[in-house]
């Protein structure tokens, strides 16, 4: 019997080694897998490369991981937020490397990794500083920039429900990067609000099929991040 469920967040992230590239889902705190991040902090892996849209909010989740100085490099589109002071101070101190990627290129580079695409030409950022040093091409009269996939050793994702085969559904805009990150990582670990019986998720509405998921862990959702957040 195939059972991808794991008992605890700690067990789900136990083998993430130093130096790993880890994708972390979420847009701000919506969809951020905070219990998995907390488990990763406790586990102690360092020298990590993190892929996320942002660079942490306040001192929870990703920001807490940064604060522990476990992250060597972050690949993201929008690090600077009203409450990104942990990242801001590390950046100004030269203690973290930043690869800034336009949000749609970030999403498509992750999607491309999961889809086995070698590289792709995108019009986004053509003629801007973020295309400097990159190969460009004029196609049908329009300028494009060559972008490469972003792969990862692990993806940490938050979903609403999952089953023991790893099929997932998400909740509202917490879906964001989850499905594409799940497809792009060698090992995708998902925290869900509820593990359900096989067949309980209507096959017509499965968003992430289980082939993209290696581990599913049910977490207690009675945490601060499920409550309304301050605008940021």
């Amino acid at each position: 019997m195939i059972d991808k469920t794991v008992a605890t967040p700690a067990a789900a992230v136990a083998d993430i080694p130093d130096g790993a590239t880890v994708m972390i889902g979420g847009f701000g705190t919506a969809g951020m897998p905070s219990q998995l991040i907390d488990a990763l902090i406790d586990q102690g892996a360092r020298d990590l490369t993190i892929v996320n849209n942002n660079a942490g909010n306040g001192e929870v989740g990703l920001a807490a991981l940064l604060k522990k100085k476990r992250v060597r490099k972050i690949i993201c589109s929008f690090p600077r937020q009203t409450d990104s002071y942990v990242f801001d101070s590390l950046y100004h101190a030269g203690e973290i490397e930043l690869e800034l990627v336009p949000q749609g290129n970030l999403a498509e580079r992750i999607r491309a990794a999961g889809a086995g695409i070698g590289a792709f030409f995108t019009p986004t950022a053509y003629g801007t500083p973020l295309a400097e040093g990159k190969e460009t091409r004029i196609i049908n009269g329009r300028g494009y920039v060559l972008e490469y996939p972003i792969t990862a050793d692990y993806a940490l994702v938050k979903a609403e429900k999952g089953d023991r085969w790893g099929n997932l559904v998400y909740r509202k805009t917490a879906r964001n990067f989850g499905p594409i990150m799940a497809s792009a990582a060698k090992c995708t670990v998902v925290q869900v609000r509820e593990i359900v019986e096989l067949g309980a998720i209507d096959p017509e509405v499965v968003v992430t099929p289980g082939i993209f998921v290696q581990r599913v862990v049910e977490v207690d959702v009675a945490d601060a991040l499920t409550r309304p957040q301050a605008a940021a």
């Binding site: 847009f27 701000g28 705190t29 919506a30 969809g31 849209n53 589109s77 929008f78 690090p79 600077r80 937020q81 990242f87 801001d88 950046y91 100004h92 930043l98 800034l100 990627v101 336009p102 949000q103 749609g104 290129n105 970030l106 999403a107 498509e108 992750i110 999607r111 995108t122 019009p123 986004t124 950022a125 053509y126 003629g127 801007t128 500083p129 973020l130 300028g143 998400y170 909740r171 509202k172 805009t173 917490a174 879906r175 964001n176 990067f177 989850g178 499905p179 594409i180 968003v207 991040l225 499920t226 409550r227 309304p228 957040q229 605008a231 940021a232």
Partner: protein, 219 residues
């Protein structure tokens, strides 16, 4: 000098958005356009973090941390709205499916280059978000901005001095003084705030403008 208020600017943009349009409103001033879209006009608002059919802010106490907009503020979903992942969301832009996006700007050049993501300051932390995708990702790109900086320098320029967001991507500029189209022949004034002459506008602009030949020019 008389100027369009923020609400007048937003209402003027809203006038140009027809029923059935798929629209992304950028963070900041463009968000105000939503308040001026007539309720009897069905318009689909897109937010790049994965929703179409975005509704207004929820009532106090009804906020849902899993339902936010690109500015990370709580929103609602209209009946008939949909959620999707980030790659699909940006395919909607990059693939040319959005009809309009409305963006703020630091500068727009005579040829429609846009600068709106970075002031170029050395110590500033760069953050681009979806700005570059939006700049190239709608059939029509509208910019809403003050005509001049606080120190009185024109934000419509011959060539942008701030780092670019996109090249030759802006179609129409709405400022507190005028509505101006970016055309292959240059910047064409569509209308100006009441009482402002073409010559006065041109003096406030710093690059040559031309007048619509038709009576469509309102003042």
């Amino acid at each position: 000098m008389k100027r369009f208020s923020r609400d007048q600017m937003a209402a003027r943009v809203a006038r140009d958005i027809p029923e059935g349009a798929y629209v992304n409103l950028g963070i900041g001033l463009p968000t105000m356009v939503a308040n001026h879209l007539p309720r009897d006009r069905e318009i689909f608002l897109h937010s790049e973090n994965g929703l179409l059919g975005m509704g207004p802010a929820p009532a106090a106490g009804q906020e849902d941390a899993d339902l936010i907009n690109a500015g990370k503020q709580p929103v609602t979903l209209l009946t008939g709205g949909a959620y999707f992942h980030h790659a699909d969301s940006f395919a909607m832009m990059r693939g040319g499916h959005l009809d309009f996006c409305v963006l703020g700007a630091f500068q727009v050049s005579r040829t429609g280059d846009l600068a709106n993501w970075h002031t170029g300051a050395k110590d500033a932390i760069p953050a681009v978000g979806g700005a570059m995708d939006l700049a190239i990702g709608a059939k029509s790109v509208f910019v809403m901005m003050d005509h001049q900086t606080k120190s009185g320098t024109s934000k419509i320029v011959e060539r942008c001095t701030y780092p670019l967001t996109g090249v030759a991507c802006v179609n129409r500029i709405y400022t507190d003084l005028a509505v101006i189209d970016v055309t292959p022949e240059g910047l064409r004034v569509v209308e100006t705030v009441e009482g402002l002459s073409f010559e006065e506008l041109e003096r406030s602009t710093g690059v040559p403008l031309w007048r619509a030949a038709s009576p469509a020019m309102a003042h």
